[in-house]
Symmetry: D2
Subunit: 302 residues, 4 copies
């Protein structure tokens, strides 16, 4: 069996590619913007007894492999790597398959898919739910759309990297799903922020009452892993970044833009989005998205 290509060895890609090698038993061909990162990666792959070659361009990876995964961090980088002269698209031809795992706009995915199909390649849109930890653990959730035959063929690879995968129909569906999931997540966390800040405001005396609040939440029907992690951090004003607020806000914005196409009202997401924007303006764009609490906890300057 030929090598699997992997483009983009960032926070997410590194763990994913490692799992491809280890759990799916595949040899790899990789390209990453920063070459030193690829070199470190090769040593890790070799340690687990698999092979990995570093190629000079995205196009070379596509040419070298029948199937390539791509995991890039922003729409700008993703578009550049796809369209540049030595980019992904220039390598596509009959027999080539691309699985794009980035979170872009639905229209980016449609554009990529059409370009790949025009050159007789196959395209699968495959954004993931989960951050660094699940990428390393192989417990991502894949939302996929596009070429269904390709989806069916990569069962082993998706299982190596994720704990579940969904095939959702035509290209765009997977990104729309991802944005909607993240929109609910953003509103939920903003709701918790309002609760915590209200307890802080309205408490009379007992300073541990906000911990009691989290404890009560954790015993009830609302209990969820995100609140368990983010709640205590909000209370401590600890915004060490797991998922950057600016990305959470971008996903909310794109979900609202998506709804706009259907004249679909989202008053709660719209209000949440404005709160994230305030937090971003207050300098918390790179903080964890739990910093959405910051505009609510005004501290007058002494």
């Amino acid at each position: 069996m030929s090598r699997v290509g992997f483009i983009g060895l960032g926070i997410m890609g590194e763990g994913m590619a490692l799992n491809l090698a280890q759990a799916a038993g595949r040899d790899l061909a990789v390209w990453n913007r920063t070459v030193s990162k690829s070199q470190t990666f090769v040593r890790r792959i070799n340690k687990i007894g698999r092979e990995c070659v570093i190629l000079n361009s995205p196009a070379e990876v596509i040419t070298h492999c029948d199937m390539t995964f791509s995991m890039l961090s922003t729409p700008e980088v993703a578009n550049d790597v796809f369209f540049r002269p030595d980019g992904v698209l220039s390598g596509i031809s009959h027999g080539k398959s691309l699985i794009d795992c980035a979170t872009l706009q639905p229209t980016d995915m449609t554009t990529f898919a059409e370009a790949v199909k025009k050159k007789n390649g196959r395209f699968l849109e495959a954004p993931v739910s989960g951050t660094k930890g699940p990428a390393a653990d192989g417990s991502l959730i894949f939302m996929t759309a596009g070429d269904q035959s390709l989806y069916n063929e990569i069962d082993k690879e998706l299982n190596a990297m994720g704990k579940a995968s969904y095939y959702l129909g035509e290209v765009g569906s997977a990104t729309r799903m991802k944005l909607t999931v993240n929109m609910v997540m953003g509103s939920m966390l903003a709701s918790l922020a309002e609760g915590i800040s209200l307890v802080q405001q309205s408490k009379t005396g007992d300073s541990s009452i906000v911990e009691d609040f989290m404890s009560i939440i954790s015993l009830g029907a609302m209990n969820n892993p995100m609140f368990q992690i983010k709640g205590p951090n909000m209370i401590k004003n600890d915004f060490a970044t797991n998922f950057p607020l600016k990305h959470a806000q971008k996903d909310m914005r794109l979900a609202i833009a998506l709804a706009d196409q259907f004249n679909h009202a989202l008053p709660v997401a719209a209000a949440s989005n404005e709160l994230y924007k305030q937090a971003k303006k207050h300098g918390h764009g790179d903080s964890d998205f739990s910093a959405v609490i910051t505009p609510l906890i005004y501290k007058p300057s002494s």
Copy 2:
């Protein structure tokens, strides 16, 4: 040991009083507006080998028992039962203790507490988190405030009815906590409603995609028991009432009013509250609060 008094054998009270008899091993004295309900209740109590007398007024229950629990459904009923000539207050004297488990306004609780203290009784505010099921199972969560010595004495009784209890300070604190918890719950469910309705709107073809959405949510960090129950119901437009929407909206309104006293902005709760009001106007006040999705899923008349 004297009997424990219990006033109000409604949906919640019945299960709670039964647990007091069974798990705390207490004999009871009860009063309920509808006498037939008390009679049925006595038969259930007798079956488990405990005694229960039916008294003719709230005042008689207080007079008869050192300690009385009260669980009434609305501020109107609670105020009437407390202040009427043969009501709770008229029975209070030195040595009498009242534990009020209703969800009222913070100011109602303060008024009750002051009136009880003036007559040398003891008062504990004790609203609960949990609905019919947890009341029957003895797995409620008690948020309490007021007389701390009383709180310390009723450990056995609270354990019989609940899985956890919190003492939060001066009277009003417990109701404020309850309202804040329910506010977060209301915003969370409105957030899910927006997500489900957006998937329904934006889906292309595949009709099971909204089930996929719930499945993806359930695999991630947002997963919580409430979403697992309410999500599928929202999808089926099944609004069989567990927690009435009008009560959920009332709690959000009171939480916002609470925040107002502190000039505390709650933009997400405010937007959610308007959505609940729309649902209420559309005729869903007595539906389950998951009917908050209804204003979002406009179906043009054919």
Copy 3:
């Protein structure tokens, strides 16, 4: 003809009472919490050739006059002056008429009206639109409700103090109208604040562009006296108080509470209200309500 009573010679009341004397040609009997203010007022009345006696309590004013106007600033003061032992109500008997011009809650007005009627007096609810200037100019707008025969009899007096008056039906209607008018006003000014702050944010280079914005607004269909006054003040961060922000916010809150009774959704007012609350928390409760712009114009500490 007997004297007209006037209770409350504050910012609004002073101008109103002066117009009653001057334009309606009435002699007066007054009571004001601060006696020195009444003494100054008497000198002004005497200068225009009319008489004015200072009485020792609200009750005495009512007893002395067939018809009394009352203009008090807050619900707390209004309730105290009405119900205290030597208050308004204690003076009411057959033949006495009270016209209450304060902005209270609809339920305050209903309570006052019922108490007055029980003692065979007549009651007219009569909140006004307009601030200090219109009170002095006699150009207030009266919104009235309650005793229609009384309304018909005081045409001359209302004309002396206002440029228009409306009879709106049963007691409560006038206050509801007033709150709704002020709610629209609050949302409108918040809308302008968003526009001005967005121009300030998005401008590239030309520093006069925000003045151009106001100029463009003033030439179009949106042009209104409030924007012409408040816009330039917002731009200069000049929040010298004309109508205190805390009162504007209180009126929005009461309008939203009114709508709540009818399950009437007000998403724009709800969002505006949260913005006013933020401004209030930032220390602008006593500033002019144009300070609603302050939460939008975040200036990072250098």
Copy 4:
């Protein structure tokens, strides 16, 4: 002096071009998608003693004239007419000037400007405030940006079509101003809709009270021509289109997108936008934007 070019003789363009001929005394060269409209237009021009030739493409108009105004209705049409093979851009060369009066996205304007400059032409962005009436009356307001020398040369032409013009700096500034003005307009009208609908909901008996509401508004500091026209129409449910709701909503959406670039929170506009979207979904996209009241006045099906 050479003819002035005019591209787009729609609702707005027809009145504008007529004023160019009449008030500025210019002969014209025109192109319009529907030729019959151009022919009717020529007859009107001839009647007032000026000449007008109909050309076969946008490019021919540019080639024929030194200066051309363009007024197209949507971004799609505007982009097509600009970029198509026989479009505006293909006619641009040294000495040619384009004044684009459409309301597009700021980035469309930047793209057009750069393309024109690359071919040594001059470009002025010039969206207008005002609808059909002001276009016919010559009382539009021009917001312009881009080539300042061109702006200075067309004083006479702008005066013929408008009552005021503003030069705002680099390309993009004028569209940003236009969007911000329309955002305030959209929030203002939504605020009025909330007020009218609340009066309708909360009235007791008197059916003319909503007319009283408009009358009270008209006497106060909020009074403005837009409310005077739209208010009575909202009351009558008369949504005959002056400015289509879908365009108002689009402008709000673009203003919010603009603010997003600056992390600028606009909670009131965001809430208003969701209300416009609801109205659009309810089938009022082509109604006048005063139909924003429709989601607020729920009428249960009998």
